[in-house]
Every structure is written in C-alpha cells, then in structure tokens.
C-alpha cells in the first residue's frame, strides 16, 4: 500500500510499489523511480460520480500517479497534514485535498439537503452547497494555510467553527448553522463573527489558522 510520509511541514512524500495515488493536479515537485502521471477522469468514483462533480462545481481535478518509486508533492507552500482513515468518511473542500491513496473512494455530497439552514450556510459562507467526501481505509493529505489543527468533538463538547477557517471533518458529526445577529449588526457594527458552524457528535474537525 502507498506509504504517506511528511518530508517537512509543507511537503508530502508518497512511496509507491506498483500502486496508485490520486493527487491535486500539478502538485508533483520531484520523484525517484519509475512513476507515471496521468489525468484521472474517474478519481476512484464511477461515471455517475463524475457527472455529479461536473454539475456541482465541486471540481475534483485530480491526477493519478502510479508506478514504483517515491514522489514528492507540495502546493503553493501550504501546510500538509496526513490523516489516516479507518473505514471512516472524511468531508473536505475539494481545494483542501492534496492526495489520497487509491484504496479510498471519493465522492461529492450535497450538504444542502438537511433543511433550509444548510442552504443558508452554503450561500452565506461562500463555501458551496457541495463538499467532497473520501471514505474507506487508507491515508490522505490535507492542505491548509498555516498548520491544520485537529479539534476533538465529543457529545458533551460541541465545537463551533468559522466557515472560513474550516478545512474538513471526519467521524459521526452533524453540523448546524449558528448566527449571532443583534442590533449592532444592523447598524454596520458587526463583530465579524456573525455566523458559525456548530459540529456536534463524535469525531474530529480540522481547522486552519487563517481565514479565506
């Protein structure tokens, strides 16, 4: 299976022995061995998935690297975090996904089907109504501006996140939209923290130290 290792905080190395890994297109910086790079059309999904991605704009333009050797990946000097999945599902913005190994399944999920609130969330945060999901057993790498910080969520301890700092989440979590609108908002004196996303349940939320 592909081995994900962190070269430094901004670079990922993947060792391949005949397997494949999907990565952000153009993110290869160097490699040793015999590795082929090609544009991936299906990216671990099926034709229906492809259609869905094209329609939703949650464009997951990936490339497939396969062969034997070690490949280094990086993207715009952003910080890299390796996440191991053990038959779990991870949700992330497609732009935050650097690489995932070919044992994992990628998909697109409509997050607006949980009621009107979610629709508002996507519209307000500019983060879209669709998100990319990766599931199965294997490893993936996330990109973030500043190191990604994993916050544990437990049933007693829900976590509220600024949508602009959100990178991804995994586990059994449900999200809801929280607004903090008061009279000051209407006279233009907002605190800049008018809406948040609350995650409750059991799992992990990844955030970055910067707001898009």
């Amino acid at each position: 299976m592909p081995q994900f290792t962190q070269v430094n905080e901004r670079m990922l190395a993947v060792t391949l022995a005949g397997e494949a890994v999907y990565t952000k297109r153009g993110s290869m910086v160097c490699y040793t061995g015999k590795v082929l790079f090609e544009r991936s059309f299906l990216t671990g999904g099926n034709v229906q998935e492809l259609g869905m991605r094209a329609v939703t704009g949650e464009g997951l333009v990936m490339m497939k690297s396969h062969g034997a050797g070690t490949v280094h990946y990086a993207h715009l000097g952003q910080f890299v975090t390796i996440v191991a999945l053990d038959n779990e599902m991870l949700y992330a913005e497609s732009e935050s996904l650097l690489a995932f190994d070919s044992r994992l399944q990628a998909g697109t999920m409509f997050i607006g089907n949980q009621g009107l609130q979610q629709m508002v969330r996507g519209a307000v945060s500019g983060q879209g109504l669709f998100t990319t999901t990766v599931q199965g057993r294997g490893e993936l790498a996330l990109l973030s501006d500043g190191p990604a910080i994993a916050l544990q969520v437990t049933p007693e301890r829900p976590v509220c996140v600024d949508p602009d700092a959100y990178v991804g989440h995994k586990g059994n979590l449900s999200s809801s939209f929280v607004t903090d609108v008061n009279w000051k908002t209407f006279i233009g004196q907002t605190s800049g923290e008018t809406y948040q996303v609350r995650f409750s349940g059991q799992g992990t939320v990844y955030i970055q130290a910067s707001e898009r």
Binding site: D145, G146, P147, I149, L151, R157, P158, V159, C160, V161, D162, A165, D180, N182, K184, Q189, T190, S191, G192, E193, T194, Q196, V205, I207, Q208, A209, S210, E211
Partner: protein
Amino acid sequence: MSTFQINSGRLLEITLAKEKVLALAGCMVAYVGSMKFEKAILGGEGLLGALKRKVTGEGMSLMTVTGDGTLYCAHEAAQLAVIPLAGDKLHVESSGLLALDAGLKTDTKFVGLHGAVSGKGLFTTTIEGQGSVAVMARGELIALAVTPATPLCVDPQAFVGYKGQIQQEFVFDVNWRTMIGQGSGESYQLKFTGQGVVFIQGAERD
C-alpha cells in the same frame, strides 16, 4: 483570569471562565463552550479614547468576546506570541495586535513626526495593566533587550512594539548616494535607548 496559550505557533487558545477579552474583529476560527461576539465600539477606553482613535487613524477594529470555554483565534496564519504584562506598559502598532485581556487599558499615543517619514502612523497604541496581550508577526517574533549601555536601532518596517523605560528617536543615514537614488535601502532607523525590550519581526512590511 483568562489564560492565553499558543498552539503550533499560529493559533491562539484563550480559556475563558465567564470573562471578557478583546480580539481583532473576525479573528475567531473556532470555539468550544458558549461565546458571545460583539463589536467593541469603545474598545475599552471610553468615549474620549474612541474619539482619539478615530481622529488619529490608529484604528483598531476590535470585538469583545464574553463566555465560558475555549476560544481559538488566528489571523492569516501569522506567527503569534503572548506578552504578559505585570503593571507595565506595552507600545505596539495597532496592526500587530491580535487579542488582549479586557482588564487592560488601551490608549493612543503621539510618537512624533518621524512617523511621516517611515510611513507608519504618527500614533501608536499603548496597553497598560495586568494581563496578557497576543501580538502577530510575519516570521517569528524576536525580543531584543535594550540596556543603557547597548542602545538598539531597528528598521521601522520590522518594528512590532516595545515595553519598558525606553526613549524612541529617529536616525537618518542620508548621504550623497541617497540623493542620486543609490540608497542602501536602510536610510532611516528607529533608535531605542533606556532599559526594556523591543519586539521585531523577521520580515519587513512595505
């Protein structure tokens, strides 16, 4: 009392037990517990202070956060440092301020005409009292000690703040080369004399 802690260099964790902090508006990235965010119209310094700030352009867009739990703050992945104050006074550029205890007193101070040359304001923000202040820097924040025997010169573009008994003056290094456009790029500096600490960053603002 609220506690300030830095997580992985770029994220500030503030633990609040029904207390209040002032933070840069919009810098919250996540929180646990219950928190209330409000624009700080007066910024904890009264009507006169707010007016002074408006007039001087040493603008600080702060919010007050009240609550019970942990607040996570960050701004553009800037590197952070916590400066504890025990009754002393910190001078800092308002653009470098991320968060401070609500118990601290802030004010705007006239620092002299050299601000016109350096492109930095003529005014700086002062923070005084007991508590913690979180400041931002590009690259790591470096604290340099100043003693009466060793005055310190810094590039105004790398200057973040200072505390202690320090006088600040302006030093020029202008010669005929500067006039014909062959400046070394270091034609003016800030000189600090006295006893205290000067904070600089590993990058120069433009």
